[in-house]
């Protein structure tokens, strides 16, 4: 087949793949993925080099970590934790990603704390927030939009951030 021609799009459709995969496992009701006609938008309110930037991940701390030190990390609830405490890596083996072809041993491949700190040191951004946030990949849209999102917004406001980057696995 010619390298520059294809009968199908090259990008993987995870919606199609997962529907077929779980269908083959006998699940008759396909997952209802989030679909929104409109998406929110707000331009930055000040120059990037004056902005405090935050990160949101879908990874969690390993259960061996003392749960009392991390708010809400014991169960799958949204949490806020110090970036310094994530530098040894986070737990995500329970999440849906390509374990055959890659790994998550390098934190900055899915939560670029070190890279953003370098950008802060260079003056490209004002700073990286001291805390990052975790959000569960919940099956329930209702829990995501009514419980998790408002909690993340509350963390963002407590930390007086100008922008957050969501990096789902």
């Amino acid at each position: 087949m010619a390298a520059d021609r294809r009968t199908h799009r090259s990008h993987v459709s995870y919606i199609d793949k997962s529907r077929n995969y779980y269908g083959a496992q006998g699940y008759s009701q396909p997952y209802q993925w989030a679909y929104n006609q409109d998406a929110p938008f707000a331009p930055l309110q000040k120059p990037l080099n004056e902005c405090r930037i935050g990160l949101v991940t879908t990874s969690f701390f390993e259960r061996t970590v003392d749960k009392k030190t991390v708010a809400g990390a014991g169960s799958k609830e949204p949490y806020a934790a110090l970036c310094d405490d994530a530098l040894g890596g986070l737990y995500n083996k329970d999440l849906f990603w390509d374990k055959d072809n890659t790994h998550t041993e390098d934190l900055d491949t899915y939560l670029p704390i070190n890279r953003l700190r370098e950008f802060a040191a260079e003056g490209r951004i004002g700073s990286l927030a001291e805390r990052f946030y975790g959000v569960p990949t919940d099956y329930s849209h209702r829990r995501t939009s009514r419980r998790d999102s408002p909690q993340i917004l509350e963390f963002v406001q407590e930390d007086e951030l100008d922008a957050v980057i969501l990096v789902p696995l």
Partner: protein, 108 residues
């Protein structure tokens, strides 16, 4: 920042930096600090410069030109070779879930 393009674009977000990699490393390849910086830098560019919602920018990186079709086809593959095994795995999972529910251990 992400690699599941269809899921993110169907959901709809303000700005989306897409890297066409296997799921797991949306911010760059393991050990490749230069690539990670480039990808995170592009996310910052997008934050700064996008002026409309649903702005998707694709990074120029390729996972592996030799094996790109392999990981795409292999992930969550369903064909004649594994159909029976998948059906059996699904059945076992449903039984395990029903047991957890009947014992009141899970939240469903």
């Amino acid at each position: 920042m992400g690699s599941a393009r269809d899921i993110v674009e169907e959901c709809g977000v303000s700005r989306f930096l897409y890297t066409d990699f296997p799921l797991g490393n949306p911010a760059g390849k393991p050990g490749d600090i230069e690539m990670q910086s480039a990808i995170t830098g592009m996310a910052l560019d997008l934050l700064e410069r996008a002026w409309k919602p649903r702005t998707t920018v694709q990074t120029p990186f390729v996972w592996d030109p030799e094996t790109n079709d392999y990981w795409r086809e292999h992930f969550m593959k369903v064909d004649e070779s594994n159909q029976d095994a998948l059906a059996a795995a699904g059945e076992q999972r449903r039984i395990a879930q029903a047991t957890v529910r009947s014992e009141g251990l899970g939240r469903g």
